[in-house]
Symmetry: C2
């Protein structure tokens, strides 16, 4: 692979420019900003490097389906997304969120780590491979959706209509990070998701807070409702919530045990004294990867501006995400939540579901896992850290697990990439290494088939 | 008084214009908007109608001290304020918050009820009285501060320096409302206040919510802390909170019993089915007037924009007001709150105090109360509703009670004036009646002295 790696190094300026261009185009699905423009950029990029690409409309934002290489060959698919999280709170960014400026070796932009860096690294890898070798040794399918950050709400609809076009022998999932010790991490699954907004309403208008003596306060009701959902010992109190939680099996426990997790560096980076419930070691890793969560992502009620305003709010809203582990079912969790609120006297609190996704994982003994590990050693000169499952979420169940396709996550981020947060960034050097890694995976995965066919 | 009343009617267009002019000038103390300009307008208005006025600087916004009439006469003081609440949420206003437009007989503006309508009605009454009678029968002192809506934070400083200039035989407090049956309401006291912001901090930045499995969430901690402060039965659980709460005495109970409170109309207006804890009748009125409160006025954490964002917030903030009743002490309540949070393991939650005010009340048998009631009957052709104490708050303790000055609240608002809320408004007709009432009070209170001196 040295020829391809050399080409990538020689042409890195161009690949960095590609990434800057797409990062400078906002694509905030939650706020419908720049979505069409960005979808068009992805389509054009695939065309430019010789692929076939189709922009497939859904009831939401379109999905781009791209293909490279001859039909009939072994097929590797890439799952990516062109949407990004909102950039708020924008005042906490050191550089413009859509400037894609490079400072201290890092490119800073909303979406640069999640997920445009990975998308462009994969396109760059195909480009470089083709430039050096002429032809790809396998067939590649790109599935690039525009709703990952809002829960892939219309991907199911897309899969139902176009499922026959999605077959692959393996899938590279969208993301991956170097840890604080500079070792690449790969992960073999994702948590599921049940993301909801709870809305509690009081009087038909905000009132002078002197009336709070006799008029119900929806902010208090929401606080009380929340306090029944999870207790300070971090136990979710919704009956049935833990029923289907599968503990790690023997092999997963082994992997977990070996899995490097940089506790000290993480705490230092976040300026924290300890992890939740003072966890460390195996217990910390098990909680991170194999335990579901219930998280307040946002809470708003009443006056939140400068200074004091004595107001009784008319409404209170909380955004909650539940990250789910195998075999929790997001629809069931939603039902359990409704029942729980009703049983605690909160029938009036509305639940608006935003995103429901199943958890998914790939067996550590799958050949795709070996391809990704072997090539990672080749590129990074170190054994990658294997996570049995990512604590993050994505539509891996629908796109892969349900269809028998193994999936592995690998990418160009690092442990302080600040995904979803201000100052999202990647190291430019990691981006270039990531391009090499994808090129090496393409070669290795194709050869494995040849080996299999011959052996 | 018919001569003065007639003059007021003939000149109402001018008095309405005065009010529109000052309402069109924003004066949001919490946001430092338009404060100097508004103070100047008040100063000029007093000068224009022949009073003496001084703008007295404090460490915060200036206080205007105005005087009318001869020294040595009996003195009536007027307490008012020129600051207003912020106009958020501005999108819920039907008309511009600083437009002072008149629609369906109502002037709509932030501050028109609280407190510019009352301020201008009092100035207009003095103007009319002087125009018709030439000279005032008593001396009048205006105390117009600029920080009432942020808790009169520097009024104490002003009182300490200028206390010798504040003596009066009675004080008309800033506000008053007609109830839903169109009967004027007067009140004889105010609740106290302890307004604080609680701040809970987690990691040094917002994080991807997948990390919530192992990183503390300040929004959850704040929810749990709040749930220890007040329970769904509306009991404040801070030890010592109720220690000094004085129940209504025999006379107050009688007044409370006779006090009209329009339950049905209030519920209809707010589109509510019932009051808090299903209260009604005497219990409802007692809770409104004689019980302290603990109110969430605002809660903010994490992402509160459109759609879903999976974020673990770095910070959570809540604004809380405690309305206090005699003999609760705001400083003591603040200490109790700190102790309570510490004892529940929330030492890390910061308390930022914004406003600390003592409750205050005037005896129902005070002669000033009789003046206000008698003149109300004269102007409104109906007996006013007497509230032993307003559920609202103001610096009545420092300005009046501590100095032995009786104080009665009377004003031009109505039960749906939406103070502190969108679409704040008063009826123009109530404004004109309010001007007459003040003129009548001036005459009656002066005569009472004469009677006293002769009798």
């Amino acid at each position: 692979m040295e020829d391809v790696f050399h080409y990538i190094e020689q042409n890195q300026a161009q690949y960095i420019r590609w990434l800057q261009e797409i990062c400078r185009q906002p694509s905030v699905a939650a706020q419908n900003r720049g979505m069409d423009e960005t979808a068009k950029m992805v389509l054009d990029a695939i065309h430019t490097i010789g692929g076939q690409a189709e922009l497939i409309e859904t009831s939401g934002y379109p999905v781009i389906l791209g293909t490279f290489g001859k039909e009939g060959l072994k097929t590797l698919s890439f799952y990516n997304h062109y949407d990004v999280q909102p950039e708020d709170p924008v005042e906490l960014w050191d550089y413009p969120p859509f400037g894609a400026e490079i400072h201290d070796g890092k490119m800073v932009a909303r979406g640069v780590a999640d997920n445009k860096g990975n998308l462009m690294a994969r396109l760059a890898a195909i480009h470089a491979y083709q430039q050096v070798r002429g032809e790809l040794p396998l067939s590649i399918k790109f599935i690039v959706e525009g709703e990952e950050e809002i829960g892939s709400v219309h991907l199911e609809e897309f899969i139902e209509k176009h499922g026959d076009r999605l077959h692959a022998d393996g899938c590279l999932w969208e993301f991956g990070y170097k840890n604080a010790n500079n070792r690449p991490q790969i992960s073999l699954g994702v948590k599921g998701m049940c993301y909801v907004e709870l809305v509690c309403r009081g009087a038909n208008t905000d009132l002078h807070s002197s009336t709070a003596a006799i008029i119900e306060n929806p902010a208090w009701r929401l606080v009380w409702a929340l306090s029944t959902l999870k207790t300070p010992d971090e136990k979710v109190c919704i009956p049935g919530f833990y029923d289907n939680v599968l503990p790690p099996d023997h092999l997963e426990k082994q992997i977990l045990d070996q899995m490097e997790y940089e506790e000290k560096e993480t705490l230092q980076h976040l300026e924290l004294e300890s992890f939740l419930s003072e966890l460390s070691g195996f217990d910390l890793k098990e909680k991170l990867i194999f335990q579901p969560t219930c998280t307040i992502c946002g809470f708003e009620s009443g006056y939140t501006g400068t200074g004091a305003k004595t107001v009784l709010p008319a409404e209170a809203r909380v955004k909650l995400d539940f990250r789910l582990v195998p075999e929790q079912d997001p629809e069931e969790i939603l039902t359990h939540l409704r029942t729980h609120l009703d049983q605690h006297g909160f029938e009036d609190i509305d639940i608006i579901p935003y995103s429901l996704e199943h958890p998914a994982k790939t067996s550590p003994s799958d050949p795709l896992v070996d391809t990704v590990r072997t090539t990672a050693r080749q590129v990074y000169q170190t054994d990658p850290v294997v996570m049995p499952m990512s604590p993050g979420t994505g539509p891996m169940y629908s796109l892969c697990q349900k269809r028998g396709i193994p999936a592995v996550s690998v990418g160009v981020g690092h442990f302080a990439s600040n995904n979803h947060a201000p100052n999202e960034n990647i190291f430019v050097e990691d981006y270039v290494q990531g391009i090499k890694h994808i090129a090496a995976i393409i070669e290795d995965f194709a050869q494995r088939e040849a080996k299999g066919a011959n052996g």
